[in-house]
Symmetry: C3
Subunit: 389 residues, 3 copies
């Protein structure tokens, strides 16, 4: 494997690279496919000092945000436009403007505008308050607001693959030392990006962790009549409000101001290797996106439907996780935290595939149906006590 690399940030060596743009000519003049990787630092507003790496592989463009824990800021299909949602937040938001100590436990919401936002590492769900009402674990955890300390852009000339790598950590002296290492890959012209994350316990004592991928679709993909297609083993509405619409759990309505979010919790079916796929497609079935992951790594799947007004953020989240986004104490009680020995690393693989036309949408649907063929769905009409806090 021959990898050409550009160090963007190497904290131990205090290396930091300013603006940068890389194209085929920087690798090998014979590469025919257009692509472009550019790194810059934003200025002004809530984005002041946010580093952004933009990858345009020729057909798909996405941004990686080192300053926000290596989240994926935007995702678009060059021929169609944004696949990710449009948040009302004017981001990407620098962590300096996100106050996770907000007593409401909801400070995280001030910075939420990514296509793919990792929730974790210490906790990833709804806020947990102690018995005096002080927030102990704020909403969705800290990792999305921790800046990476190591970032590299690479090009694997053998595989013909763009590779963005980065590391960020949640370290509190004497308390915890969890590290995220991510590798994001895409090939020039590929209609996908593939993420491998590793969570490592750098402490000398055992630790627990949680991870959830808050993958948020909207833009040109989500419309009235959109449908989510998933191989359901078990489905549970999170609360009575979600239960009321359980018959239409997989359908999306038009934007409705004041719409109260609906959340559904799933166990998905997978192939013999644990691989599964869920699909979101537009009303006409001419555009779609799949989320692929491994149910051995990420056994829980959450569907978040938030089809409020466009200006409020018309969005749906397909969210594989190690657990459901309940308060950490509830999830821990039900065994849904990762236990990591000193030095132990756990890997997570998530991929996004885009389907730019009817045939590719149908092919993806067929893949889901193949998985569904192995078992019937159990759909609970009401919240279940071990699933819903």
């Amino acid at each position: 494997m021959a990898i050409k690399t550009w160090t963007i940030l190497d904290h131990p060596r205090h290396e930091f690279r300013g603006d940068l743009a890389i194209g085929p000519g920087d690798i090998d003049a014979s590469i025919a496919t257009h692509f472009r990787i550019a790194k810059r630092t934003l200025r002004g507003g809530l984005s002041d000092r946010v580093d952004v790496i933009e990858v345009d592989n020729g057909r798909v463009t996405f941004t990686v945000l080192p300053t926000r824990g290596m989240g994926i800021g935007r995702l678009s299909l060059n021929a169609a436009g944004d696949i990710g949602w449009h948040s009302p937040i004017r981001g990407p938001v620098h962590p300096q403007f996100v106050n996770l100590a907000d007593p409401s436990g909801l400070g995280w919401l001030d910075g939420f505008d990514e296509f793919l936002c990792r929730c974790g590492l210490e906790s990833n769900g709804a806020p947990h308050f102690d018995d005096k009402g002080h927030v102990k674990y704020p909403l969705h955890g800290k990792i999305a607001n921790r800046p990476a300390h190591r970032v590299e852009i690479g090009y694997d000339t053998s595989a013909g693959e763009i590779i963005i790598t980065g590391e960020a950590s949640e370290t509190r002296f004497l308390v915890q030392n969890l590290r995220l290492t991510t590798t994001i890959r895409t090939k020039p012209g590929e209609l996908a990006l593939r993420i491998r994350d590793e969570v490592t316990n750098d402490a000398s004592t055992s630790a627990t962790a949680q991870l959830l991928y808050h993958i948020n679709f909207g833009g040109t993909l989500l419309d009235a009549g959109s449908k989510v297609v998933a191989p359901v083993k078990t489905l549970v509405p999170r609360n009575d409000h979600a239960a009321k619409s359980i018959e239409r759990w997989d359908h999306y309505a038009a934007a409705e101001p004041g719409f109260a979010e609906q959340v559904y919790l799933f166990e998905l079916l997978a192939d013999a290797n644990g691989r599964t796929r869920s699909l979101l497609r537009n009303a006409h079935g001419t555009l779609g996106a799949s989320v692929l992951f491994d149910t051995k790594q990420l056994p829980c799947f959450t569907l978040w439907k938030n089809t409020g007004a466009l200006s409020d953020g018309y969005v749906t989240g397909l969210e594989p996780g190690t657990n459901y986004p309940n308060p950490r104490s509830f999830e821990e009680k039900h065994g849904r935290v990762i236990r990591l020995k000193p030095g132990e690393t756990r890997a997570f693989d998530v991929a996004i595939e885009l389907h730019p036309d009817q045939p590719s949408v149908r092919a993806a649907e067929a893949e889901v149906q193949k998985l569904q063929a192995s078992a019937k769905s159990t759909i609970h009409p009401a919240p279940q006590p071990t699933w819903c806090a």
Copy 2:
């Protein structure tokens, strides 16, 4: 209207301009009056990364702080010196150093050094704590610590007017989306600056808001024997401590270490259009400043007397607002919040006029007396239950 504009910051386009200086020659060589507009980014201390726009119109100099919600940092009369106070805080302070989640609810005080600081938009008064004692609305709200996402410098060649515009917002996903748009105008050689603010509810659901202009005089203007001249319809001392000095509510004493602040609440008289004026003048009546506003927009007026030691901040605030700076719950109970429908905008006009000599001070006093002529003042000797929390 022909307006020449310089974009300082346009967040959606990720445009940001570094240091900049504009003078008559950049507009039209025939402009005779000297003026200068300069933009720079401060470095170091609590001011690190604060953007400042300094406007010197030839007679009056003031700074606008995009990084602090478009507040007015300093105001001085070129011939006399600072009209604004001297805070002990070494500002202007970047919001990264102001922790609004401080459990005391008083974190805002760490960044308070402006001449004109907006309090709002969600709330603008004293901290409100929930029944478990957690701060829900911190002192004076968030807007002064929210960076603008759009900033422009303009020059209207028809009106011969310098125009600084900016936008900042308080946006929390799923919770609120309030936007402030400000336009600050002054003409070369003019002894005034005029502010038009618009508060917009960008959410698709209705919202409530509050706004107060914390306009803080000191410097060369405030001295022992200074006087505030206001057209009083009703005056209420905020508490027993203020009530004790009610006879001298309009007089200022010399700096007194340990002086405990005194606050008076007013309903002011206005002309047929709702316009009113309050005036602060020095002991000799040779220097003054008026605050002009519209009582239909800003029905409440608060006078803050804080004549402690010079080193602690010898200052008085003339503060028009949509309400009195009580905890939000109290003001809401008494109907003193703004209600905004989805997309609705409410405008607020505030102007500052400087009076550089005895004739201009007298003329301003005469204006106030004209307003006062329409009705007698009701001065309550003690706090009133619907006014004082």
Copy 3:
């Protein structure tokens, strides 16, 4: 005294200097001893925008961190390596990433990686919570997360001495205004650095303050068999856990994952002028470091033993202070706060001496023994009520 100075930061004048390097040639070509002073601003990760001054006097290298209250980041003996510890935190950490409002009171731990970190100025000990459980004084105070507003590099040509000066403050309008002024001195080739700190009450009303020097050794100096040598008048274990190992209070064991920290509180013996010395030396007695201070200024001494795994931060703190690091309320009850009149300044002198070989270690030990000769040690086998909260 002829001092050549370079202003790094002068906040009132908005002066700020970018990267800078100073050597003998910048002072006087005839200076034979090599030294180098360099200032730069770090980029990326948790260190983004941290200013660092590195001083290499030819034999000893240390960094000063204006952005972190003029703390000493690293200390190394050029011939031996780091004398300071290796924190698991990837610092130096910019205050924007340290949330002192964290409800646990422990946010300070997210930024703790210095060799010498000042705890103070309003409070310096364990978190103090009010009766509703809200943190009032977070762990170790604010000063280490306050950026300096004035920084100078100087060279005293008469004394042949490098001088780093800086000022930082803890100012909250209407509440407090404490200022730290530090002067750090070392001579080219000297095996020491000397700190003079002044704490000033800039308010017009009286104030209380606390100060503790969290001086953290590790690196090549601390090993299994290391020993602390101190002239003990009184020794008290902080809690039962520390009491269990009281027999070995002055010995260090090898790194032990999960080791729970042990803390011992001391009154030390001093010479007629109040000067005292405590020494840490390695197992072989071939490397050592002394902490020198004045017991009239800093009557309390705390020893922190935290010999956990190397990766968790194998470290010991020798910590002179105005008090013990108990919650502020406890220390105040026992008279261990500084009282400062308006404008009053209190000075504190602390020096670090390095001992690079057996003879110099022995000489330092002899100094401690000379102090010890004046009285016998009282060693309490259990916590004492007026010492331990």
